[in-house]
Amino acid sequence: MNTTPDETTLARWLEDELEGDELAAIEAWVSGHPEHLAERERVRKWRAMISGAVPAAEEPPYPDFFNSRVAQAIKESTPQPAVATKTRAGWIKFLMPAAACAGMMLTFWLGTKTHSGPVEVDVTGAPKAIPVEPLVYTPEKGVEAECFSSSKASATVIVLNGVDAIPDETDFSGSTTMRGLREKDKTAAIQMDNEEGAIR
């Protein structure tokens, strides 16, 4: 290359983005311009320092749970497929629109005759919402969780196994549950502040 490369090509060369003939052409040109070679070395040194200290890839905490959460969110956001209806064959198909129309007219007429009020709607044929199962994750080694829905307790129950016991000497005597006391004690101000927002 005899002519000065354009700014973008030179910038790309400085960043080691060029390949093949394009690279060869620039290399030939810069051999006569050592200041650019020096600049490229400075850029390489800079990139090495940054990329050496700041990793390009770091696994997120709880990577398996990460994937599960993504899958769960996708599942929740994906509409359920409509139930396929059996198609009717033959001459019945031609009667269906007329029958539907007659049915609508009858329904309308009946509706004008009934008193206003709540109407029961049969939803047995409607797609049912699929109950979403809670995801449970225990990051600490040795800790496991059993999760189930308790109809007896009318609650969701999670049983933690393998959790370290709280030392007996730990004292909770300063805690209080009485609403009156909480309104009067000094933490009430903090609680009121918390109503404006939360951490971060």
Binding site: Q72, P134, Y137, E140, V143, S154, A155, I158, D171, T177
Partner: protein, 168 residues
Amino acid sequence: MKLWLWMSACGVLASSSLTMAQEDPGKSKVGMVRVTVYHATNGNPKDAGVKTTAVPKETCERLGSEALLRFKHYGTLGQDTQPLLRSYESWAQPLKPSEEVLVRFDAKSHPTKKTTVLDLELWLSHKKILKTDVHLEGNRPLFVLGPEWRKGRLIIAVALAPETKPAP
């Protein structure tokens, strides 16, 4: 004229405050969450060594109805109620001033009339022990059978709390 200027200034201040408060819809409160810690034991409840508050009979019956949560005695160690915000997380510290039990939660989706889905973390002894997304309904709490303590176990209950009017 001066009165007019003064009133205009007040109006500007008031509207800017209103604007700031309305600016971030994420700060709006969409519910209240109550976290209660019970001490459950089959031994002498006085072994807890602290004065616990009596647990309502209905709650005792509810806990006792489930085999894994059934103990002879229950006592309330502490409780904390915090707002559930649209886009921000909240922390409950039911055994204040102790940080032994902390619960972090935020709204995973916009609450409906029936269900509130929370992204919830239980922290014990400054360690994240449990992470879950839990569906809470009006009268359907979450019970977590937690660690042992003083010859019993802690049960951490998370439930939707009714909105309370501020004290006069």
